[in-house]
């Protein structure tokens, strides 16, 4: 009887620990540099942007979303930093831990060696961040960050 009870408790404890490990999984932040435009050959919307496609079209009035640079970083300590680059632009992300369940990020949008914009954001896990950048030709530079 005692052995059965101990076995029962042990099984539950193992199930609990495996469940907690599964739900505590590290999260990935995806950052993309996008050109939104109405010109150029039609192409499918990048997979990462599919959930935001309607919102981006509504915001900027462009139908075509073209991904020119991206980076994906799995956050473990919450202190990581990374870079998404294109030929002329770079998005530097410096993670500064978590606050209220969101990642605190310092973002710098660089055009070659110039800092066009710097911002500190608290990136929530269910809420993407969209930044409108400079006009490029007949399109618009758009920065997107989201937790995956």
């Amino acid at each position: 009887m005692e052995r059965r009870a101990l076995l029962f408790i042990a099984i539950f404890a193992i199930a609990l620990s495996s469940s907690s490990v599964a739900t505590r999984g590290d999260q990935t932040v995806w950052s993309g540099i996008v050109i939104a435009s109405n010109s150029g050959p039609p192409e499918p919307t990048p997979t990462e942007l599919t959930p935001l496609e309607g919102t981006l079209r509504q915001l900027f009035g462009y139908t075509r979303l073209h991904l020119i640079g991206e980076a994906r970083k799995t956050l473990k300590s919450g202190q990581e930093d990374w870079l998404a680059t294109t030929k002329y632009f770079a998005l530097r992300v410096d993670a500064r831990g978590q606050k209220d369940g969101a990642y605190v990020l310092n973002l710098k949008l660089l055009q070659e060696n110039k800092v066009l914009l710097e911002t500190d954001a608290q990136l929530s896990k269910a809420s993407p961040l969209v930044i409108r950048g400079p006009q490029i030709g007949d399109g618009q530079l758009v920065i997107v960050l989201m937790v995956q």
Binding site: M1, E2, A5, F8, I9, F12, A13, A15, L16, S19, S20, T23, I35, S37, L52, G54, T55, L59, H66, I68, G69, T86, K87, Y88, F89, D100, G101, A102, V104, Q111, K114, V115, L116, L117, E118, T119, D120, A121, Q122, L123, S124, K125, A126, S127, P128, L129, V130, I131, R132, G133, P134, Q135, I136, G137, D138, G139, L141
Partner: protein, 171 residues
Amino acid sequence: MFMKTFEEKWTAWIDDQLTGRELDEFEASLPDKAAAQAEKQSAKQLGSLLREQMAPVLNNAEFFSHQLRERLDREDRRSTARPVSTGWWTIRRLLWSGATALAIFVICAVVVIHNKPSPDQSEYLTQILNYRVDPAVSPNATITMFEKKDEHVTVLWVDGLQSLPPEYAAK
């Protein structure tokens, strides 16, 4: 032999249990033999009357007494024949069952609390803490921040940055 008291001799005389010399001596000791004889007759009549009236009652009493004894005997036999049952819920088993139930409750409670979605995942939008542009690089830049709550999207809208030629859209 020991001497009988007058009351004992009197009772024995009424019950006709005195005989011989003892009977003669007792009757000789009576002050009024006629009155004593009348009293003896009266006592005998009362005795026979009582026996007549009480006989059924006594018979019933014996009957119930017999039944009661038989019933007690039956119950004694039954109680000795019945096996002694100790019951499944011993103190130790009760303790273990209680501990197991408590452990299951705690584990389930922890799992439920652990799997509950945190508020940030359902309610809170991304927040812009601060922003800045270099006035030397973008002197006409203005920044607006707004939220599209229906889509859970936060937007940092920068106007006035220098427009760039199409080749800047290169990968």
